[in-house]
């Protein structure tokens, strides 16, 4: 067993006191007390220092934890906002993709013939919109369109529609037509002429 230190000066730190623990029993207590008369106050002082240091560290940890929690909250709210923006972006991309894939092939052409009842004075400018499942042929100036499963069908249907519109307009007195139908009538009578019996 190690002999206690013979020095008389007070202990400077807790570690000095810890060195004495192996001899800290009843039989040698008086010896220790003789060597270290102020050991009681030293212990109290060291413990107070220790507790104070722990409390200080605890306070620092708590402050760190609070700051960390607020940072995590801030990051979480940023993450939520990013998620929302990402979702909006995804929706926009989906819409764009849908529009892109749905986009028809558009071309312009002219009609040189309607049917045997009409002579085409001036070729009719038409627009063909071709998509996966339908083709639309339009004569935009008179707002007539027709649909077909293919280009030829759509054009044939459009010719029928032009003919039908022509008769509807020609058989209606001008005073019974609004401004727009009157303009359609003018256009049609400029570009086609009836040559048949009907």
């Amino acid at each position: 067993m190690r002999e206690p230190s013979t020095r008389k000066e007070p202990m400077s730190s807790l570690s000095d006191f810890e060195m004495l623990l192996p001899v800290w029993n009843k039989t040698e207590r008086s010896k220790v007390m003789r060597h270290f008369p102020d050991i009681g106050s030293m212990i109290a002082s060291n413990w107070a220092e220790m507790v104070s240091s722990y409390l200080k560290r605890d306070l620092e940890y708590r402050e760190d934890l609070t700051e960390l929690t607020s940072r995590v909250d801030y990051l979480a709210s940023g993450l939520d906002s990013l998620k929302k923006e990402l979702s909006t972006c995804k929706e926009s991309i989906d819409n764009l993709y849908e529009e892109f894939t749905d986009r028809p092939i558009i071309k312009e052409t002219r009609l040189f013939d309607i049917d045997e009842e009409f002579e085409v004075i001036e070729p009719l400018p038409i627009v063909i919109e071709e998509s996966d499942d339908e083709v639309i042929a339009t004569f935009p100036e008179v707002e007539v369109f027709a649909v077909g499963s293919g280009e030829a069908e759509a054009i044939n249907n459009l010719k029928r529609e032009v003919s039908k519109l022509y008769y509807e307009l020609i058989n209606t007195p001008d005073e019974q037509l609004g401004r727009v139908p009157q303009s359609w009538k003018r256009v049609l009578t400029k570009v086609v002429r009836r040559v048949g019996n009907t």
Binding site: D102, D133, E134, I136, E143, F145, T172, Q176, V180
Partner: protein, 100 residues
């Protein structure tokens, strides 16, 4: 789903016939006139759909344009908030402002 999607041909036809008194004939392309008084003002075409009971977006847009409505106004007409007389007021105001 976009604003131009999901217009059922039957409902559109019913809506235009009942609210706007448009009489669609029979034929490959069904057309009808919208009248104000005795005057033919607008002509609407409702084509028979190829491969579905809903109007395609492009056809829906053409129908909407021929009625001189915005997409939202057509949606209102289809879903009911817009009545026949609301539509008549809109067309009359377009006529008054020389837009129609």
């Amino acid at each position: 789903m976009g604003i131009l999607s999901g217009f059922k041909v039957k409902i559109v036809t019913n809506c235009l016939e009942k609210k706007l008194d448009i009489d669609f004939g029979q034929g490959s392309e069904r057309t009808g006139w919208y009248y104000i008084g005795e005057k033919k003002i607008l002509r609407v075409t409702l084509p028979k759909e190829h491969g579905g009971d809903s109007l395609s977006k492009r056809i829906a847009k053409k129908v909407i344009n021929s009625l001189r409505l915005t997409n939202q106004e057509f949606r209102n007409l289809y879903d009911c908030p817009m009545s026949g007389s609301d539509y008549e007021q809109k067309i009359k105001s377009l006529i008054q402002s020389n837009e129609l």
